[in-house]
């Protein structure tokens, strides 16, 4: 897969055949119109006082200065990053443990693996509604049955606990793709490594910590970055579970930005979006640097 092998060296000096432009341009033009142009427009208007329609004037960095001192925006950034961080840890710990189990000598291997992947194909907002029902009815019912007071009121109604429900549902849905990557990683470890370790008397736990973990470290890194990037965009699951509430306790960055659509804070929320964009770029650059050795980009 190195870039050089398939390069058409023989024809490199020739002029580009026109038909190649016809192959490339549709994608290029649509992409520019659908993503680049809106992006530029958005950044442009973040320096104005536009409300989305009608007249507007340049306002310099006013929006950014205001956004920086806006507790609503600060709290949504804080919530989203905290949520993404916790979720990434939960997802990767669960996925790695499941993967280790799924490549071990177990029964029902194929069936179990098929089941664990199902959450990936389910719509986030719909499964959030299912869980919302469980959190509101079943968990409190279980709480009173077992006499556990903390569970008897819906955790979705609590400012301190609602985020945990969001982590649970997001993790439920995100574990499969991380799991598949870990399974691929684990299967790439040759069996004789474990053979040697077993001969040297390493216990199962030592093998896990000293051999498996270091050897899948690269996959952990991929999963952590991909996951974190995805979780920062949290929207569907939160809309289904809490819709940002109670109050604004679980309002994500995406929800804050979108609120600018109806509230007349268009330019203001474009400033939020631009700041979010900068964060996304930093993470993406990190991803490219980290995965460069793995891909032939």
């Amino acid at each position: 897969m190195t870039a050089t092998t398939a390069r058409p060296t023989a024809r490199s000096a020739r002029k580009v055949e026109p038909i190649y432009y016809a192959f490339l341009l549709p994608a290029l033009i649509l992409f520019t119109l659908a993503i680049t142009v809106p992006g530029i427009i958005g950044i442009f208007f973040s320096f104005t006082d536009s409300i989305g329609i009608g007249e507007w004037q340049f306002s310099g960095f006013t929006n950014y200065i205001a956004a920086f001192s806006d507790p609503a925006i600060a709290s949504s950034f804080l919530f989203t990053f905290g949520f993404a961080l916790v979720t990434v840890v939960v997802v990767n710990v669960c996925a790695l443990l499941l993967a280790v189990g799924l490549v071990a000598r177990i029964r029902f291997k194929t069936g179990l693996r098929a089941i664990f992947v199902i959450p990936m194909v389910v719509s986030g907002i719909i499964i959030a509604y299912v869980f919302q029902f469980l959190f509101q009815n079943s968990v409190p019912a279980l709480g009173s049955l077992l006499g556990i007071e903390a569970l008897q009121t819906s955790m979705l109604a609590s400012e301190d606990l609602a985020w945990i429900a969001i982590v649970i549902v997001t993790a439920w849905q995100a574990i499969p793709s991380a799991l598949l990557i870990y399974i691929a990683g684990l299967l790439s470890i040759p069996g004789d490594v474990y053979e040697a370790a077993a001969i040297d008397g390493a216990s199962g736990r030592q093998q896990l910590l000293r051999i498996t973990l270091p050897l899948v470290a690269g996959y952990v890194l991929i999963n952590v970055i991909l996951g974190f990037k995805g979780f920062l965009n949290a929207y569907d699951v939160i809309v289904g579970l809490t819709n940002g509430g109670p109050g604004t306790a679980t309002r994500s960055i995406a929800m804050t930005i979108i609120s600018g659509f109806n509230s007349g804070d268009y330019a203001y929320q474009m400033a939020t979006a631009t700041m979010f964009f900068v964060v996304a770029v930093v993470i993406a650059v990190l991803q490219l640097v980290v995965t460069r050795g793995r891909n032939s980009v």
Binding site: Y20, S123, F133, N233
Partner: protein
Amino acid sequence: MVATTAQAPPTTPGIRAGSRNRRPRVVLERVSWPTTIILLLCAVTVLLPLYVTIAMAFKTSSQSVDGNAFSLPSPISVQGFIDAWQLTDAGVGFGVSVLVTAGTVALTIFLAAFASYAIIRNWDNRLFKGAFFYLLGAMFIPFPVVALPQIQLTGRFGLDNPLGVILLASMFQLSFSVLLFSAFLRSIPIELEESARIDGATTWQTFWKLIFPLLAPMSATVGIFAFLYAWNDFMMPSLIISDPAMQTLPVRQNLFQSQFSSNYNIAFASYLMAMAPAIIAYLLAQRWVMEGVTQGAVKG
């Protein structure tokens, strides 16, 4: 690729045990029942919400109103489905969801395959090389960042409908798909094409008759990702499609949330109808999905 190794029939290790194979880890250990049991318990947490959805959907309104999620439906009733279908106008919802999903899958595969081929065959040309990195750049841009201007622009140009969603969804899938296709195209030996060209094939014929069929495994991977995204997404259609009557199935669940109120059987029947096609498609094409996702995730 990797997934297939693990799907070897469970009998293999037993056979190998006698024949001194080089995988002693597999040979020496017997079936680990503790691990199996723990995994089965974990599988229950995956299946429980799905069981609840199915059980609730088949209840009568009078049974479902007690909010007991785990009881079996008695009697079994399909009234919830009939009511949900009518209430949410699910027929139109299905139509729109199928249109958006099929459109996104097709547009993504074709645009990405054609563009990747042009890019890889003209890699020495600065324009094409630049286009590659330009298209890849969208991996830096999450939808929320450009959502507000996109809502405005699609509204202004008459694309505040399923077509607009197809276009935007495909564009957000494009960078990842170009990355996958390019990696695959680089691995196809150029000699294959040159022999076709010697036989007089044009560039179009070479691509369409020879290369594009070879890309099928990657097209499947790209298509699976586009399918899952387009069928399940809530955020983009909810913001772009302005007419509620033309909304996709996931958005309909949101729109009718207040009208379901405590008719849980109707709500869950509606959820089930929206979820089922993707789950059934997955169960039918399991191996492809797992291999595709593994390949896509590791490469992307």
